[in-house]
């Protein structure tokens, strides 16, 4: 199954695109991976079972099965249909219902519309009615529905017995206990009672909190988040002298400077930032420019036009330097910072400087000072009234909780390493899982999911949104509001009534509130503010922090919110664990991220286990070399290494909280090799395009030049014939007629898609949305290592760098002390001459899914015609016809087809292979033949019926759940297309109004398109010249990937446009679109030869 693909057309000169350091170095491992359709062993049965012996065995078992079937009779099992006793009004079985609700986050909420079939929520979408949104969501919201159906969630009320074990108790008994607590604290005014909660924006919870404070005046309330997003509010409050929180308007800014602020990735509310940022990055409508200073390589850095690789503890220096430039200080020693400051000053009024959640408050104050100095407040920064209950100091917690500690959500035993200070403290916990903290609690109350409970929340822009339940609690959980109300001894305990009382109305306004899913509470922006700190004060603030030189013996550690498991709360969510990290493409693990230079200096390589010691504590984890990391900076993702997460999340990765003390950036760490190695499941080589230039880039200057020329030519030539320089490579016309030409004449629609590489930031929301919509299973780390992940769409992340580009890091003179060392700088540069350009990378993200080729190469190799075209241009897959030869995948140039090697749906990850599949024929377990064991119980290891029933609830009934042995791939969400067509036809009845049109709003959205916060994916009818997708396809930036193969893909891409500043030291004038020049010349040569 080895392919010889020697027609690689990777550019030899100019910019280079690569997925990993292995690819760049062209290591044997990479080549081997590349030349196989599936990686070595992926298409073979492992552990000694050969295909031949398996077939022999199977033919025997088929014969036996045949006998059994004949004996047992042949009718399908009798099935029952049970209609309601009392018919429900306005309900039709089989039609989906949609309800507005919201997912609460730490500092806001995501307004949602949730699709429900037969009373079970199956798919989460953004609320498209919501004014400050576009129907997009983030990946956490998309994945949260899987938590609802998690078989491992807490199902019972539990009390710790005298023997120290937890025993299940009846719900009534648990509620009586809450009542007794309420009575006790009513008499003692809450003496010895403390609450530990996660931050929340719910007005109802705030109201109950006040009631508790009145009833139990001595009780104390603590709020804690492992990932503290409250810093933005605290810093703004300190900077402006009144209680405010900032809202950043990335759409209004022309020049943006990110000071270690991953606003497109790790920051709270990232989906809103992505939406606004994408709106400001339209090449033809005044594109913004993004400067990023950061130590980790983040999604924000990947989207930046100029990126400065700098240790996180030195980022404050850049902020200070820029502020002094604005204040007219001496010219900066660093050309990068100097030119950046000039650009900021020149764009006064349209500038936005943001400091990251990881950065200390001083850096935030500097950012606000710069924003104020450049007239950004009220323009690119809106100040809204603060939300109560941001992070508080936990020092008094154990003293306050002398009698009872109530823990609402969170997992302090895991992420605070907390345990009860004294044995006399009764710990009452309301938690979604029986996790690490439940182990230390005396009472454990199962919490409800947000899709099963009433609630409310405030979004980041100040709107009140309802949280409406779509289903009764699956396991009799208790709502947080009800829990608090009962604890407070309130008479009104139903969450629905509490929320309604907070809202203050039950009539039409309440109905409208629930229908729309939001109500805009008028929160006027605060404009009358002054920055209280003067420049000198800020200098003083920084003085203590200045010049903490990082070195191999004084490493910096950066702790960050993981893109998948958040602070650990999604550790048992299989979709999240298997989603390749947007930057590292790592699945099922976290790693110690380091730069190449650091790896070399410390003598470590990918997969080496190292012990990191910080403040006397240590943790062991595997090393991963990440291009773009700052030198001597270690990136540790929080949220892994859970011990009591559940069957999916237990023991995945290592627990970085062990050395975390609340400072997200810490210096003084040392590293030691333990000698062990560890295998990491990274998908960056999977489905590689072997250096063929799949992505295209432009500089804005080139774009404008071409646009001008295009305008001039427009008078004489048709637009379609004038192309931007080389975006679409020359396509030789085929001799054969296109088989679709005939169908196009009669079909109602022709579907197509356009993906804007300039808008896509690579966040991965679409991947999870696709997984949710299309019932895509997870396969586990072992299977990912074999290249068997099932995602129908993936995000290819290409690093790009330019050997000729000037060294960006050395332009950080005066900022990075390493470069102030005189002779050392030259030496470092000399021996790194080859390397530095690799480290100063940029990245391009390309969502890759079935391209729906009109002349699809997969179709003509299928021996059973299981994959063929329909009349509307879809390359369809008939699962029940597929016999699993995998020829189609072999022949697909885009590598977008996925094969069900095992029964991923009905078997848990640990039991994927069953009794026979994993062993040889002669194998015995406990003295018994495996064949006999299998015969006795062929379903051994399958999920139990009740667990399977629970999991079935989460499946989308509109899409088939595929079994082992069939091929599958993106279908353009054919179920949504069919549903839209059927609805339109049913509406048309005896008329010809059957065509879906964008004008009438009847064209469906694919799951990826609907979820994308950037609006990068547009799907529609390309036979309608006025549809958005048709218009985008006439854009000069439109190109098809590998178009010269004459596959005629229906999915095309818009080239990415960057907006670099010509004055910057790391600028290079790419006169031609990156990566196309070589491609073009090569295809021209080929044309000449043929």
């Amino acid at each position: 199954m080895k392919n010889d693909l020697n027609n690689s057309s990777a550019p030899v000169t100019g910019r280079r695109y690569w997925r990993s350091l292995d690819e760049l170095a062209d290591t044997p491992e990479f080549k081997d991976w590349l030349h196989r359709e599936f990686p070595s062993g992926a298409s073979e049965m492992e552990d000694g079972q050969s295909r031949r012996s398996f077939l022999k065995l199977m033919s025997a078992s088929f014969a036996l099965a045949g006998v059994a079937t004949l004996g047992a009779g042949c009718r399908r099992p009798e099935e029952k249909l049970e209609p309601f006793g009392k018919q429900l009004e306005n309900y039709t079985f089989g039609e989906a219902q949609y309800f507005a609700t919201a997912m609460p986050t730490r500092t806001g909420a995501v307004p949602l519309t949730v699709k429900s079939y037969e009373g079970r929520p199956v798919k989460i979408e953004g609320n498209s009615l919501y004014p400050n949104g576009n129907g997009g969501t983030d990946r956490y919201a998309q994945a949260s529905i899987l938590d609802l159906y998690d078989p491992d969630r807490a199902r019972q009320f539990k009390m710790r017995g005298a023997d120290g074990r937890l025993y299940a108790v009846e719900r009534e008994e648990a509620l009586k206990y809450l009542e007794s607590l309420a009575k006790k604290f009513a008499t003692s005014s809450g003496e010895g009672l403390a609450f530990l909660a996660e931050s929340s924006t719910s007005p109802s919870r705030a109201r109950l909190q006040k009631i508790i404070a009145q009833k139990y005046p001595k009780a104390q309330w603590f709020t804690h988040d492992a990932i503290d997003s409250g810093i933005h509010q605290r810093a703004a409050t300190q900077a402006f002298g009144q209680s405010v929180r900032p809202v950043f308007n990335f759409d209004k800014a022309k020049v943006i400077l990110s000071l270690d602020c991953d606003f497109l990735g790790g920051e709270d509310d990232a989906h809103n930032h992505i939406r606004k940022f994408a709106a400001g990055r339209k090449a033809d409508k005044g594109m913004s420019r993004l400067y990023a200073v950061e130590s980790l390589f983040t999604l924000t850095g990947a989207s930046a036009d100029h990126r400065l690789r700098l240790a996180a503890s030195l980022v404050g220096n850049v902020a200070y330097e820029i502020l002094s430039q604005i204040a007219g200080g001496p010219e900066s020693m660093s050309p990068w910072v100097g030119e950046c400051a000039k650009d900021l000053i020149a764009s006064r009024g349209n500038v936005l400087v943001v400091a990251g959640q990881r950065q200390p408050v001083e850096v935030h104050l500097l950012a606000h000072a710069i924003n104020t100095a450049l007239d950004s407040i009220g323009n690119t920064v809106t100040l809204l009234p603060a939300i109560e209950g941001a992070n508080t100091d936990l020092t008094g917690l154990s003293a306050a909780a002398s009698d009872t500690l109530v823990i609402l959500g969170g997992n302090p035993a895991y992420n605070l390493n907390w345990s009860p200070a004294s044995k006399s403290t009764t710990v009452v916990r309301l938690g979604y899982y029986e996790d690490e903290s439940a182990d230390k609690a005396s009472w454990n109350f199962p919490a409800t999911h947000y899709l099963e409970s009433w609630g409310d929340a405030t979004t980041s822009d100040g709107s009140l949104v309802p949280i409406q339940p779509l289903i009764q609690p699956l396991f009799s959980g208790l709502n947080e509001l009800e829990f608090l109300a009962r604890l407070a001894g309130e008479t009104q305990t139903a969450a629905h009534e509490i929320v309604q009382a907070t809202f203050g109305g039950s009539g039409e306004s309440w109905k409208k509130f629930l229908y729309n899913g939001y109500t805009t509470v008028s929160t006027p922006a605060i404009t009358d503010v002054k920055v209280i700190q003067s420049l000198n004060d800020l200098n003083g603030l920084l003085a203590a922090k200045k010049n903490p030189t990082v070195s191999p013996t004084n490493l910096e550690v950066v702790f960050f919110r993981d893109a998948k498991v958040d602070d650990g709360r999604y550790a048992n969510n299989g979709w999240m664990q298997e989603l390749p990290d947007p930057v590292t493409k790592m699945t099922w693990d976290n790693a110690v991220l380091i730069s190449r230079k650091t790896a070399r200096d410390l003598g470590v390589a990918n997969g080496d286990l190292v012990e990191i010691t910080l403040n006397g504590k240590s943790v062991v984890g595997p090393v991963w070399t990440q291009p773009g990391m700052a030198d001597y900076s270690l990136g540790l993702a929080l949220g892994y290494g859970r011990e009591r997460a559940g069957r999916v999340g237990n023991g995945v990765g290592f627990n970085a909280y062990k050395i975390f003390n609340g400072d997200y950036v810490a210096t003084g760490a040392t590293i030691k090799k333990t000698g062990g190695t560890y295998t990491l499941a990274c998908t960056q080589h999977h489905w590689s395009m072997e250096g063929r230039p799949a992505v295209r880039e432009f500089n804005l200057a080139t774009f404008e030049e071409d646009a001008k020329e295009l305008n001039e030519k427009h008078e004489t030539e048709s637009v379609a014939e004038v192309k931007f320089r080389g975006v679409e490579p020359p396509i030789v016309q085929s001799l054969y007629p296109n088989p679709l030409d005939e169908a196009k004449k009669t079909a109602l629609h022709q579907w197509g898609m356009s993906i804007d590489l300039g808008a896509c930031v690579g966040c991965g929301t679409c991947v999870i949305a696709c997984q949710s919509e299309n019932n895509i299973p997870i396969v586990g780390k072992d299977q990912v290592l074999r290249g068997r992940e099932m995602h129908w769409m993936r995000i290819d992340r290409y690093f790009t760098s330019d050997p000729k580009r000037k060294n960006a890091s050395s332009t950080a003179k005066g900022i990075n002390p390493r470069f102030d060392l005189g002779s050392d700088i030259n030496k470092a540069d000399e021996d790194q001459q080859f390397e530095e350009w690799i480290d100063d990378v940029q990245a391009v993200n390309q969502p890759m899914l079935c391209q729906m080729c009109e002349t699809a190469p997969c179709e003509n190799v299928c021996p059973v015609a299981a994959t063929v075209h329909d009349q509307e241009g879809l390359n369809v897959m008939a699962y029940n016809r597929c016999i699993g030869t995998r020829y189609c995948s072999n022949n697909c140039p885009y590598k977008v087809r996925r094969f069900n090697f095992l029964d991923y749906n009905k078997r848990p990850l640990t039991e994927l292979k069953g009794t026979l599949y994993s062993t040889t024929l002669t194998h015995k377990t406990d003295g018994e033949w495996d064949l006999k064991r299998w015969w006795n119980d062929p379903n051994s290891g399958m999920r139990t019926e009740d667990e399977w029933d629970l999991i079935k609830l989460s499946k989308n009934p509109d899409a088939t759940v595929r079994m082992r042995g069939v091929m599958e791939k993106c279908t353009y969400c054919t179920q949504r297309i069919e549903h839209a067509k059927i609805s339109q036809k049913a509406k048309a009845g005896a008329s010809d109004n059957v065509r879906l049109t964008e004008a009438a709003g009847t064209v469906p959205k694919t799951a990826c398109q609907q979820a994308c916060p950037a609006g990068a994916i547009v799907f529609g009818d390309i036979s309608d010249a006025k549809s958005s997708v048709s218009v985008l396809k006439t854009s000069g930036l439109n190109y098809s990937v590998l178009g010269n193969l004459l596959t005629r893909p229906r999915t095309t891409y818009l080239a990415r446009v960057r907006n670099p500043n010509p004055a910057m030291p790391d600028y290079k004038d790419h006169h031609d679109p990156f990566s196309t020049e070589e491609y073009e010349s090569q295809s021209l040569t080929k044309k000449g030869q043929s």
């Binding site: 079937t69 099935e79 209609p83 079985f93 089989g94 039609e95 109602l748 009349q871 509109d958 279908t971």
Partner: protein, 204 residues
Amino acid sequence: MGVLAGGAVAAGVTIYLTPKYTRAGYQPVQPVPFSHSIHAGQLGLDCRYCHNGVEKSWFANLPGASTCMNCHALVLKDDPRLAIVRNSAANNVPIAWVQVHKTPDYVYFNHSVHVTRGISCVECHGRIDQMDEVRHDKSFSMSFCLDCHRDPAAHIRPPDKVTKLDWQWSTNSVEAARLQNVNGKKFVHDWKVESLQSCSACHR
């Protein structure tokens, strides 16, 4: 010997594993002796009175017992045969009807698009209005679906006649066939009825 065994296997597969024989003719006993021939035939109740989702959903929907009680609160109100129905309506206990018509799980058949576009119930279900106990009348094999999808003009009728199972273009069968041919083609053309034969029409 080999020929015999092969023949036996072929016959076994044909009889037991193809939908033509596995389901056609299936007539299970239902918990309530409800007669379609009385209700739909003699009384002339429209199919949609009970199967009220048929124009909106993929599923025709079964009536709740409360729908039965609209009439049976007065008619046959103490009949012992209706005890289950009365109990269901009073206590909201579902009646466990046995499913008769079934397509395979990988087939996504949709009622609404067929009945609203002039394909009558009778095309797939036969003369339900003449059955006491409902019987699976047609085979529901893939070729059964395709026969119609290849030539919708031979089956299409005015949408207001889809629930009239005995309706004909004319009492004269020759004339009826002629009118079906003429009008069928006209409907297919005027309403832009597609002859859908690609996989995506039924499989997702």
